[in-house]
């Protein structure tokens, strides 16, 4: 059954790819949605089956065929469904289905309609293969596959140069990470003789073997630390962390549903998946954990500050995604993998919602993406406004919405981190705490400029053609007039687009209740952190002093065919409540603080943006001026300047982009130089052959002296 | 060294034959020197003028065919000489058929060039 979860979208992609050109739009859309629908239905069924199993045996495997077997090396084409991959396929297929439905409306009238859905279905296949793979190599296939689809979809608007450039940038940046991943994988095989997540041929999985290794000392880089960092290197590429995050904001050149599905909800979280999947290795190296946590926190605050200064609605969301991914890695780094995965899930809901909402706004505004040219849209687009507001509150950490629970859990786990050097946990908590405030603030800014205040579009302007200031407006078919609106008047999107928004909004509200933290749960009457309980068998925990005991547990678990770390997880529940009781009051206090900073961020945003932009907007619009006058408030000005000039324009554009481009240019210069060796003259070729021959013979002659002298 | 004495005899004989003939014709023959007779003979080509002129590829094709059949003769002769010795050691049909295969291959080549019109000198 597992294979049909992945194969259904592949079949959809094949049908649309081969015959799509001849089919009409409705049929193409139907095939695409149906194939993902089948996949989603099967995922829910399989997930139900998984839940019906006893907690410590929740593993379903399916062997397709043995892919490669060379000596001791074995990689199967086999799928593994355990709580971790189960949760992933649920939200991948679920959110994926909603976005597919949305896209049938959004892409309506586009000449490449079938091509779009072919890629999108192919992406679903690859993503599901990635999370269901039972070994690192098959995971890598999916990993590369989603990269390819992402590349194809970023460059979807083939006529536009910046789309092509962005696609290339994404691909090249990701290759850097992939290189790290593959070295990590080889290292794992060299060290453990297995790359599988489950036992094969009597060889225990590398995760089990890793579980029995001792924890490495802090600040030393042993084998486990090396592997963990190499895998994390791969994750930085895919999940857009420092220093490989540069491609993600540019990736917004793709169609908005793609940004929602691939560049917010699913693919970019593959790095978190990998880190959580290999948690057994990560927890053995406090060094690696510290690095991961620091990079995660740094990315979170770095991207959040850049987000403050962006005017393109999708760019704001893109930097916000980078920032939220940073949170997830921070969680992984402090050993709170479950909290990280939980945040992946809630983020998938509210970020997909926000992106789709922004798509709806862009659609309604006739391809306008600049929030300075919006304003007051809440009157025109009621559903979009309401649903996006839910996303806004969720990401800002408004109490009891999904983002609140997951973010709070991460903050708490960071505060109490054991793996990090003394005091670092508190410092990182402060960074993350500040980021939470910034997040609330820039999201408020985006929402306010979009939906509130004065209407800054229309009047004497044609919203579609008037503004050449940026080149990221979504390309679209010429069907704007079909709803009877003239240019310049925003309109609400059709039902196929608003329905997914509504469903995602519901998920963004209630999605968090599967993971209510203990301290808080006791107050609101939910006593079990369901997600933590559910995911425990798949995740390893950090234990500073543990040694041999886990090995014995691990071996016992292997005999049941359970994934590697099950035993450790099973030992955990006993310890968890005790810890929860001890610091309940601190936890509650921190929760209060994070609610407070969220509210402060929102409040400050409202305060600032409800006053200034309205007065200054018209002149800004006419002069196509930059935001300098807009942001007079002294609190923001220094921050923003730093963000734009130092972080974004210098670090991002100059240093990081410059490095990537420089390497590429260097190689092609070398190529040009070498090309001159190809003169086209047969006699010079003969001369080179002769020189080569002399070199080879000379080398052999030198060796002859070796014989006569040496032996 | 003794084994090479017959070769030396053949060598002397050949040299003597050639020299004798040239000397004889020089002494006996009538000579009437014309311009055409005095220019060096060069297989039908004009020997005077630029060396960079093109001449027909047909010459080469014929020359190659000639060499092929020449090689056949060179190969057949020693085979005939050692035939009696060889059939003592290897089976008779083997020794015979091997050479016939070679001849047949050449024959096929001959038919091929014939049918392809190589011998029609005036074909465009």
């Amino acid at each position: 059954m597992l294979k049909w979860i992945t194969l259904a979208p592949l079949i959809g992609a094949l049908i649309n790819g081969l015959f799509g050109k001849r089919l009409n739009e409705k049929v193409v859309g139907l095939i695409a949605c149906l194939s993902v629908g089948v996949s989603a239905a099967l995922s829910f069924m399989q997930f139900g089956k998984l839940l019906s199993l006893p907690a410590d045996q929740r593993v379903i495997t399916e062997h397709f065929f043995t892919w490669i077997q060379v000596g001791a090396f074995r990689a199967d084409f086999a799928y593994l469904l355990d709580p971790l991959s189960g949760l992933y396929i649920l939200f991948i297929t679920g959110v994926g289905l909603l976005i597919h439905i949305y896209a049938t409306g959004y892409m309506h009238g586009d000449p490449g309609y079938y091509r779009f859905f072919t890629y999108l279905n192919l992406f679903m296949f690859m993503m599901l293969t990635l999370v269901l793979a039972d070994n690192l190599l098959l995971l890598f296939v999916g990993w590369e596959g989603v990269g390819l689809c992402s590349y194809l979809l970023i460059g979807y608007y083939i006529k536009r140069k910046e789309a092509g450039d962005a696609a290339k940038k994404a691909f090249v940046t990701n290759r850097v990470g992939d290189f790290s991943y593959s070295i990590g994988m080889f290292l794992i095989f060299t060290a453990f003789g297995s790359i599988s997540f489950v036992a094969k041929d009597g060889v225990p999985s590398f995760l089990t073997q890793a579980a029995s290794r001792p924890v490495e000392a802090l600040w030393s880089l042993g084998l486990m630390g090396g592997i963990a960092l190499l895998l994390f290197g791969g994750a930085t590429g895919k999940s857009a962390q420092i220093p490989l995050f540069v491609w993600l904001p540019d990736a917004m050149a793709g169609p908005t549903p793609v940004s929602a599905l691939i560049h917010a909800a699913t693919m970019v979280t593959a790095g978190v998946y990998l880190t959580a999947r290999c948690s057994a290795i990560v927890v053995k190296s406090p060094t690696a954990m510290t690095v991961i946590a620091v990079i995660g926190a740094a990315t979170a605050i770095f991207a959040a500050t850049i987000g403050l200064a962006q005017n393109d609605i999708k760019k704001v969301l893109a930097y916000s995604t980078v920032s939220q991914l940073g949170y997830m890695f921070l969680a992984c780094g402090v050993g709170a993998f479950i909290a990280g995965i939980f945040h992946v899930m809630t983020h998938a809901f509210f970020k997909a919602l926000l992106f789709l909402g922004s798509g709806s706004v862009i659609h309604g505004m006739h391809e306008e993406q600049d929030i300075r040219k919006m304003g007051g849209l809440r009157k025109y687009m009621k559903i979009t406004f309401v649903t996006m507001s839910i996303g806004w509150f969720a990401i800002a950490g408004f109490p009891l919405l999904s983002g609140f629970f997951s973010k709070d859990e991460i903050l708490w786990k960071t505060f109490t981190a054991e793996a990090l050097p003394h005091g670092w946990g508190k410092a990182l908590w402060a960074v993350a705490f500040l980021t939470a405030g910034l997040t609330a603030f820039y999201m408020t800014r985006m929402m306010w400029l979009t939906f509130f205040g004065e209407e800054r579009f229309g009047k004497g302007h044609d919203a579609h053609h008037g503004h050449g200031g940026h080149g990221h407006d979504d390309h679209h078919g010429d069907h704007h007039g079909d709803k009877g609106h003239g240019h310049g008047t925003p309109h609400e999107s059709p039902l196929v687009m608003t329905l997914p928004l509504i469903l995602l909004a519901v998920l963004s509200i209630f999605g968090g209740f599967v993971g209510v933290p203990h301290a808080l749960g006791n107050i609101i009457g939910i006593h079990e952190n369901k997600i933590e309980h559910f995911l425990q068998p798949s995740i390893a925990e950090f234990h500073a002093g543990e040694h041999g005991a886990a090995a014995a547990h691990g071996a016992a678990a292997e005999s049941h065919g359970a994934p590697a770390v099950a035993a450790e997880g099973a030992a955990k529940p006993a310890a968890a409540p005790a810890e929860a009781h001890g610091d309940a009051s601190t936890e509650l206090a921190l929760t209060g603080l994070s609610v407070l900073i969220g509210l402060v961020g929102i409040g400050l945003g409202v305060l600032i943006y409800s006053k200034k932009p309205i007065r200054h907007m018209p002149s800004v619009l006419e002069n196509k001026y930059y935001v300098d006058e807009l942001y007079e408030t002294t609190i923001i000005n220094p921050l923003e300047e730093t963000s734009r000039h130092v972080l974004w324009k210098f670090v991002d554009v100059k240093v990081i982009d410059g490095f990537v481009n420089g390497v590429a240019r260097g190689v092609s210069e070398l190529a040009n130089l070498l090309r001159y060796s190809q003169t086209g003259l047969a006699r010079s070729y003969a001369a080179v052959i002769l020189l080569g021959a002399i070199a080879v013979i000379g080398y052999f002659v030198v060796k002859i002296f070796g014989i006569q002298i040496g032996i | 060294m003794k084994a090479y004495v017959p070769i030396l005899i053949v060598f002397i004989f050949v040299l003597g034959f050639a020299v004798t003939n040239i000397v004889l014709s020089h002494l006996v023959g009538k000579r009437k020197n014309t311009r055409a007779k005095l220019i060096p003979y060069e297989c039908g080509m004009d020997p005077v003028g630029s060396a960079h002129q093109r001449f027909s590829v047909k010459f080469y094709l014929v020359a190659m065919l000639f060499i092929l059949f020449d090689i056949e003769a060179v190969f057949l002769l020693p085979w005939a000489v050692v035939f009696r010795d060889l059939i003592q050691k290897l089976s008779r049909p083997f020794v015979f058929l091997e050479m016939m295969v070679f001849v047949a291959v050449l024959l096929v080549g001959y038919i091929y060039v014939w049918k392809k019109g190589l011998f029609e000198w005036n074909r465009s």
Partner: protein
């Protein structure tokens, strides 16, 4: 060699005989039919090749025949299969090529068959003389094939350059063989091996210089740096299908002979001279391998013409295959050449179709936007290019993996070579992706006409596609077979055992 126990066995050379006879028959059929016999000869050649393939399968697993001139071992069987597959695909593609170009139809098949004969002989050579014979038969026919479009200046240039430089390198080869003979008093590879193993080499210096010269000769034929310069010019100028053919079949065949002479004949460590020779040639091959793949990949990046780009890519791939040599084991090289032959032929087949008569459209810019105009062709090309780039789940990935992994395990001293190869394959992704980007992300180039695809061409494309995925997804059976063959071959000691 005693004349009484030559061990004459016509069954042992049945594949070669069948190929030669088929060539002769097709030649006669062509000569005797007035209008030329394109279809008849294609069918005759296919039948002949399939029969030869059956004969290969039915060979005795090992043996030495005709006084050691011909030898049967897993290397021969495996490479013969590669050669015959290449020939079959070339024949399938030739029909449409000859018709579209309006070229004399019959002789092309004859040339393919004779080239196949030569290649098969190379793969089965147990003696330096047979190596030379096979090499020359295969080379001379490919010289002619390169210039088959004889009114095309580029094809003429290609043919002539190939001929001149090929002869030049043959001289090295022959001289090397002569010196080896002088040093060991033998031309039989097994005998040379035995003599080196017992340390009975009279002139060690001669042997080493002989080996060096043969290395140059083989190096030229497989287009390894610095003997690769002819490749781009020849590959670009020759008709595309010929380029595909000579980049795969003859190359594989030369690899077979190269393996037998070096990885077998010169791979003895029992005597000091043997050990010296072995370490010398392996280190030389390692350096050549790195040079070859680096030069091939780096120059390929700046190419604008797709045939030229693939020519450099072909150079780089020879470098990867050479990596497998340092293990002294034939299995990874054999697998690599099979995978490479299939995907490379597939790529050239598509390029042939897109180029139109006379190779007009071979600039990468000509491919702009055709992605969704001829989806079957462009997706096939994309798959072949990705496979050449080594992206899973294709043959290219698996073959690279196999070579790199075997080398990593078996030759700990040469792990730097594997690292260099991995870095190189990452560089190569760039230029393999470029045509794909052009095909799918650029506006359609003007003057594009959708090519017609003949049935035989379709069959060839499907074969290569299936092969690319089969080797990528289910390489196990083949690898196991190779693994068993590897035990049967008496290549001892393996480098890793030292």
């Amino acid at each position: 060699m005693q004349i009484e126990n030559l061990n004459l066995n016509y069954g042992a050379v049945a594949p070669e005989i069948i190929a030669a006879v088929t060539g002769v028959i097709s030649m006669l059929v062509d000569a005797l039919s007035p209008k030329g016999a394109r279809k008849t000869n294609a069918v005759i050649s296919l039948v002949g090749l399939v029969l030869a393939l059956l004969a290969v399968v039915r060979l005795e697993p090992s043996g030495s025949y005709f006084g050691g001139m011909v030898t049967t071992d897993p290397v021969r069987v495996f490479f013969s299969v590669i050669i015959l597959l290449v020939a079959i695909i070339a024949v399938l593609l030739a029909g449409q090529f000859l018709r579209d170009e309006g070229l004399p139809p019959g002789e092309f098949f004859t040339l393919i068959m004779f080239a196949t004969t030569g290649m098969l002989l190379l793969a089965s050579a147990g003696d330096l003389v047979t190596v030379f014979l096979g090499l020359e038969i295969a080379s001379i026919t490919t010289y002619v094939m390169a210039g088959y479009r004889r009114y095309d200046v580029r094809a003429n240039e290609s043919s002539l350059k190939y001929f001149l430089l090929g002869s030049f390198s043959t001289a090295f080869m022959l001289y090397g063989m002569a010196l080896t003979y002088g040093a060991t008093g033998n031309t039989n590879i097994a005998a040379i091996r035995a003599i080196i193993g017992e340390g009975r080499v009279e002139h060690p210096a001669l042997l080493l210089i002989g080996a060096a010269m043969m290395l140059v000769g083989f190096g030229f034929k497989i287009a390894s740096a610095p003997f690769h310069l002819w490749t781009p010019d020849v590959y670009e100028g020759a008709p595309t299908i010929v380029t595909g053919f000579m980049g795969t079949g003859p190359k594989a065949a030369v690899f077979a002979a190269f393996l037998r002479v070096f990885a077998d004949g010169f791979n003895v460590t029992a005597s000091p001279i043997g050990a010296q020779l072995q370490s010398t040639w392996i280190s030389a091959v390692a350096v050549i391998a790195v040079l070859t793949m680096t030069i091939g990949n780096v120059i390929a990046i700046s190419q604008k013409n797709i045939k030229r780009m693939l020519a450099y890519s072909s150079i780089a791939h020879a470098g990867y295959a050479l990596v497998g040599f340092v293990t002294g084991d034939f299995a990874p090289v054999a697998f690599y050449m099979l995978a490479y032959s299939i995907m490379s032929l597939g790529a050239f087949a598509v390029i042939q179709l897109l180029a139109r008569a006379g190779d007009q459209k071979t600039e990468i810019a000509d491919y702009a936007g055709i992605g969704f105009e001829t989806p079957a062709l462009s997706f096939s090309l994309a798959i072949f290019l990705l496979s050449l780039g080594g992206i899973p789940p294709t043959a290219g990935f698996m073959s690279k993996f196999f070579v790199f992994k075997t080398t990593w395990d078996a030759a700990p001293h040469y792990r730097w070579l594997v690292i260099a190869a991995v870095v190189n394959s990452i560089i190569s992704i760039y230029y393999y992706l470029y045509p794909i980007v052009v095909m799918f992300f650029r506006p359609l180039a003007p003057g594009f006409i959708k090519p017609r695809i003949a049935t035989m061409t379709t069959v060839a494309l499907i074969l290569t596609l299936v092969g690319t995925f089969y080797l990528g997804l289910l390489p196990n059976r083949l690898m196991n077979a190779l693994g068993q063959g590897q035990k049967a071959v008496a290549i001892q000691p393996r480098l890793g055992d030292r």
